[in-house]
């Protein structure tokens, strides 16, 4: 690691100039990052993203993702939520199958709500924004997924 060469006046002045220069893009990103805190949920059951075909380096998976079909899996305990994302929308399934209401939420609020069929499957339109998350509401039990970039 290199030490800052601040024994030199011009070098110190150049670093100071850079440090004081406003960066509008960074300011926008900072505000956006700070606002993410408003989405903090307390006492929720979080289903973590455990598989994403886009991040799977296996050849087969890459071929599949090239076919514009993305597979994503969320898991919490024994409950799994599998999603297939295409240009047309999202096909999902909750396993073990459950009678649930599924909400698609973006950073602007709920975008769509649907119900599962007897196999735990559901269909959603293509999300309007990125990232999104799903709430799977099974009576009193609500499963909330990680945020997913699209």
């Amino acid at each position: 690691m290199s030490l800052p060469r601040w024994d030199d006046d011009d070098r110190l002045f150049a670093d100071l100039t850079e440090a004081l220069r406003p960066d509008p893009e960074m300011e926008d990103l900072r505000r956006q990052g700070e606002q993410a805190f408003a989405w903090r949920t307390v006492d929720r059951e979080l289903a973590a993203l455990v598989y994403d075909s886009l991040l799977d380096d296996g050849l087969l998976a890459r071929a599949r993702s090239r076919a514009e079909r993305r597979i994503v899996t969320f898991q919490s305990g024994t409950l799994r939520l599998e999603l297939e994302l295409t240009a047309d929308g999202i096909v999902g399934q909750v396993t073990p199958s459950a009678n649930a209401v599924v909400q698609l939420t973006g950073a602007g609020g709920v975008q769509e709500e649907t119900g599962t069929d007897e196999t735990g499957s559901f269909v959603l339109d293509r999300p309007l924004t990125s990232p999104v998350r799903l709430h799977v509401i099974m009576g009193d039990h609500v499963l909330t997924t990680d945020w997913l970039g699209l």
């Binding site: 006046d9 002045f13 670093d15 893009e25 979080l46 990232p131 970039g149």
Partner: protein, 198 residues
């Protein structure tokens, strides 16, 4: 200067619902997120998408991070994955060079540099704020692009043209002598973050 103990306190306070502690974490680690996005050659809109996803996901995983030293690596990993996601999904806003399908993994040593540059910036801003009005005004005038002429500086500060150069030297010496800068130089940058990344 906050160390990893500071980061641990921020994480702890943010888990308990303290927005300002969360803001401090965002300010601290945003340069890391942006530097990784830039290495993946993402444009502004894609960088914003990646950045937002990283922070939204971190909000929900803060209380899983029992070891705050793991935070920079956690953020770096999620950011890299999100960059790959943008590149591979074909959803990026500006098509770039198609021959670059998968950018090389960014070695952690390379992540160090932008973060340390950010640290230097933070320390310099803190030191600058402690200087006299006279020094801050003079140095700020000299930073403009294009540079302010000595004649203009003289008019705006009431300083004789002949004393502008020597005053700049004195002001930079004062900046160098501030405790915050001296501590930073003695510690060789920011060992706390370097250790966390290492």
């Amino acid at each position: 200067m906050e160390d990893n103990g500071g980061i641990a306190l921020w994480v702890d306070a943010a888990v308990k619902g303290d927005q300002s502690a969360w803001n401090a974490l965002v300010r601290r680690f945003l340069p890391l997120v942006v530097s990784i996005a830039r290495r993946h050659r993402l444009h502004a809109a894609d960088t914003a998408d990646v950045s937002q996803t990283v922070w939204l996901r971190l909000v929900e995983h803060l209380d899983d991070l029992r070891d705050p030293q793991a935070l920079p690596k956690w953020i770096a990993t999620v950011t890299r994955n999100e960059c790959l996601r943008v590149i591979r999904s074909g959803s990026r806003t500006t098509p770039l060079d198609d021959t670059i399908e998968t950018p090389p993994r960014v070695p952690d040593a390379d992540i160090d540099e932008p973060l340390l540059r950010h640290e230097r910036g933070r320390v310099l801003r803190e030191a600058f704020a402690t200087l006299s009005d006279r020094c801050r005004t003079l140095l700020a005038l000299m930073m403009t692009d294009p540079p302010t002429s000595y004649a203009d500086i003289s008019v705006r500060t009431g300083m004789r043209i002949g004393s502008i150069g020597p005053t700049r030297i004195r002001c930079l010496a004062k900046l160098r002598a501030t405790p915050v800068l001296q501590r930073f130089i003695e510690e060789g940058g920011d060992p706390g973050v370097a250790a966390a990344l290492g």
